[in-house]
Symmetry: C2
Subunit: 425 residues, 2 copies
C-alpha cells in the first residue's frame, strides 16, 4: 500500500465536490485506490507517506476526442466551417502521415502535450496509415498514458491518398490490436473502431466495421451531428436512416458496443432517445464547436436525459489540449445557452463540468476519474501557490486553477497508480 497526502478534491456525483483538506489516499500495489481518509487510521500510521503539503490533488483528466495528426494545425486555419475546413486544411495534413518519420515527429509532440496538460486518458483518431498509427500507439505505451487509438476508416468523399478499403481498415485495425497485445501491454492502450463519419464511409465500410467491432468486442468512436451542412449531407447519403445516429445504428456502430460520438450540437428527438437507449456517449467539444462555427450542444438536455457525457479537446478543431480550458468553455457555452433560452436550460455548475472531465468521461475506461475505493489512481498534483495569495477556500482554489492555471501548475501526474516521467519529445 502507498499513501499520499494532499488537499484531495473529486466528484463522486456531479452535484458537489468531495473535499478532504490534507486528506490521505491509500493505493494498492496494482494502482487501485483502497480508500481515502480525512485522518490516517491507526493501522496505517506506520507506513511512509508521500506528503504533497498544501497542494491540490485531483483526478487526472480524460480527453475523449482528439485527432493526433492534426497537432500541427492547432491554433491556425479556423476561418472555415466543418466541411470545407476538412478538405482545405485537415486532409492535406493527414496525408503527410503516410511518412512514418513525419508521424513520429508530430506524434511525439502530441503525446508529450497530453502528458503536459494532464490528460491521463484519451480517445484518439490517428489516420488511415497503419505504420504511423502503430507508432502513435507505441508512444502511448512508452509514456504510460491510457488511450484508445483509432485507425481511421474512409472510403468515400476523401482524396485518393486518404482512402482505405473496408478490407484494409479491418485488417489494419486487427493488426494494431495484435501488435498491442504482443507488447505485453496491460490494456492501458487499446484500439477502437473509427469510421471517420458517415460521409467518409460507404455502406460496405460501415458494415465491415460494425462486424469487426462486434466480433472483436471493440469500442467505437466517430462524429455526430456537428454541423448543419454535415447533417443535411448525411440525410442525402443515407436516405433510409431516420436520423444521423440511426445511420450508425443500422450498421452496429451506435451503442451495440461502447460508443463515443463527438459533438452532437444538433442532436434531439429520436437521435437523443437512441443515445439514451443505447448508452452512447456524447463527447462535448465546446472549443471546437466555437472555432469552426458549429454551434452549441445542449448538454443540460443530455444530462437530464441520463445520456453519458464526456469532454474532448478535438484538436485541431479545438485550439488547445488543456482540459482546464475545456471545462471552462463547457460552462461558458452552457451559460450562453441559458441566456438564449431565457434560463430554461440551467447552466453547468463547476462540479458538473469537473465531473464531466473526470468521473463521467473516465467511466468510458472503467473505474477511472474519481478517488473512490476501487478506482484506478489517475491523479494530478497541483501547485497553485501563486494563485493563492489571499484567503481562498479549497473549492475556490480549484476554481481559480481551472480558470487561471495552466500546465505549469501540474507538478506530478499519475496514471493507474504509476507516477509518470516526461515523455521524450
Amino acid at each position: 500500500m502507498k499513501l499520499y497526502r494532499a488537499n484531495l478534491i473529486f466528484t463522486p456525483t456531479k452535484d458537489a465536490f468531495r473535499i478532504l483538506p490534507h486528506g490521505y489516499i491509500a493505493v494498492r500495489e496494482d494502482g487501485i485506490i483502497d480508500q481515502v481518509y480525512e485522518s490516517l487510521p491507526q493501522e496505517l500510521q506506520s507506513l511512509p507517506v508521500t506528503d504533497y503539503g498544501d497542494r491540490l490533488m485531483i483526478p487526472g483528466f480524460c480527453d475523449l476526442h482528439v485527432h493526433a495528426p492534426q497537432y500541427r494545425n492547432m491554433g491556425i486555419a479556423m476561418d472555415l466551417e466543418l466541411l470545407p475546413w476538412l478538405t482545405t486544411y485537415t486532409f492535406p495534413e493527414e496525408a503527410k502521415f503516410a511518412d512514418v518519420n513525419y508521424a513520429d515527429h508530430i506524434y511525439r509532440r502530441f503525446v508529450h502535450e497530453l502528458w503536459m496538460q494532464g490528460s491521463m486518458r484519451s480517445a484518439v483518431f490517428g489516420t488511415i496509415h497503419p505504420e504511423g498509427t502503430r507508432r502513435l500507439a507505441d508512444l502511448f505505451v512508452q509514456a504510460g498514458l491510457g488511450s484508445r487509438i483509432g485507425l481511421v476508416a474512409m472510403d468515400r468523399n476523401a482524396p485518393d491518398n486518404l482512402r482505405n478499403t473496408p478490407q484494409q481498415a479491418v485488417q489494419d485495425t486487427l493488426a494494431l490490436q495484435q501488435h498491442l497485445s504482443q507488447h505485453g501491454n496491460d490494456d492501458l492502450v487499446q484500439t477502437i473502431v473509427t469510421p471517420r463519419f458517415i460521409p467518409s464511409c460507404t455502406p460496405q465500410m460501415l458494415t465491415a466495421l460494425g462486424q469487426l467491432a462486434k466480433e472483436q468486442n471493440l469500442a467505437v468512436q466517430s462524429h455526430l451531428s456537428e454541423n448543419r451542412s454535415e447533417i443535411e449531407w448525411v440525410r442525402e447519403l443515407e436516405p433510409e436512416s431516420s436520423c444521423y445516429g440511426d445511420a450508425y445504428y443500422r450498421y452496429g456502430l451506435f451503442g451495440q458496443q461502447p460508443t463515443l460520438m463527438a459533438h452532437c450540437c444538433y442532436t434531439e428527438g429520436e437521435e437523443l432517445q437512441m443515445m439514451k437507449d443505447h448508452h452512447v456517449y456524447v463527447v462535448h467539444c465546446p472549443t471546437s464547436n466555437c472555432n469552426i462555427a458549429s454551434g452549441m450542444a445542449p448538454i443540460r438536455t443530455f444530462l437530464d436525459a441520463g445520456i453519458p457525457v464526456g469532454l474532448g479537446s478535438d484538436v485541431a478543431g479545438g485550439h488547445n489540449f488543456s482540459i482546464l480550458r475545456i471545462i471552462q468553455y463547457a460552462i461558458q457555452v452552457s451559460k450562453l445557452v441559458y441566456a438564449q433560452t431565457h434560463g430554461e436550460l440551467q447552466f453547468l455548475s463547476l462540479s458538473e463540468a469537473f465531473w464531466l472531465a473526470t468521473k463521467s468521461g473516465g467511466s468510458f475506461f472503467g473505474k477511472v476519474g474519481s478517488f473512490e475505493p476501487g478506482y484506478e489512481l489517475d491523479a494530478l498534483v497541483i501547485d497553485d501557490g501563486y494563485l493563492n495569495y489571499d484567503h481562498y477556500t479549497l473549492e475556490q482554489r480549484l476554481e481559480r486553477y481551472i480558470y487561471l492555471g495552466d500546465d505549469r501548475d501540474i507538478r506530478w501526474r499519475f496514471c493507474r497508480g504509476t507516477k509518470l516521467v516526461e515523455p521524450v519529445m
Copy 2:
C-alpha cells in the same frame, strides 16, 4: 531616432495584416513612430539597431474595460447573473478598498498583471474611495502604463458603505485629476468620469457627472445593456428615457464627451443609432458575457454601422487579463452568433479581432495601436520559438501565439516609446 528590427505585424485597417518580415521601425525620441521599413534606407544605416531577430513585434494591447478592485475575485464566483452577482460577490469585495493598505496590496498585483499580459493601455474602474483610487493611479504612473482611471460614482441601490454623494464624486474626481497633473505626469494616466451604471446613480448624480465631464473636458465610461434584467430595471428607473443609452444621453454622458460603454449585448434600434450618431465606443467583453451568462453582443452589426469598438477583459466578470484570450473569445462568440443566425452575421476574422484589440481600441487614447507614422510606439516583442517548430507563415505564427501563447512569450514591452521594467509587486 531609435531603430528596432523584428517581424513587424499590425493592422492599418481591420481587413488585413500588414506584415514586414525582418522589418525596421524608426522611433523618434518622444516615442512617436517615424516610419516602418522593409529594408533600411541609406540615411539610417549608420544608426545602431536593436535587433529582435526572428521574434514578432506587434502593437501593445488595449483593455478598455476592467475593474481593479475585483482582482481578487478573478476566476471565482461565477454562478450568478449580473445583478445578484454584484450584490453577492462584487460589492463586499469593493467595500474593502476603504482601507488603503488593502488597496495597495491588491492594486500592485493588478497593475503588475496588466503589464505582464501586455495591456499597455487600459480604462479602469476603481472604487468610490478617493485614497485607494489615487494609490491605483500612482501605481500606473510608476509602471509607465497608460490608463484612464475612474473614481466610481454610486448613490443608490448599493450598500451604505459603497455610496458617495454627487458632491463627493465630483470633488474626488477633481482631486484625482489635480493630483495627476501635479505628478508632472505626461498625461499617460488621466481620470475618467465613471458612473457605475444607471441603477447605481440618481438623476442628481448623473446630472452632476455630466456637468463635470463637460466642464473639465473629461471622457466618460460606464456599462450598457449587458443583461436583460438590468435593462428592464433601467426601464423602470428611467421611464422618461427612450432606451438605456438615452438615459445616459439625457445627462450628457453618452458621446457628448469621448465615451466607453461596456457590453452592449442587447443594443439595437434607437440605442444603436445613438451610439453611431454620437461616436460612443462599444467595449466588447466576451469572456465576461459568457461567465455571467449575459449573452452575445452583435459585434458585426456594430462594425457594419460604423460604431467604434474595442475589447475589454472586464475582470472579474471576465476571468482573465490576457487580451490574447479576449481576441480569441471575440472571434469564437462571433462564430456562435454566425451559427445562430445561419450565417447572416459573418464572424470576425483574425485581423478584425486583432484590430479591435490594438488600433480600434487604441483610438480612444489617441494615435495608439498601430505602427503607422505618427503613432505612439506601444509594442510587444514576442518569442514564439516553442510554437514555431514547423514551417509556419508569419500570420500563422501570430495566430498560434494568439490561440496558444501566453504571458511567458512576451519578452519586452513598450508604452509610448519607453521600454518598461517589471512593476514592483
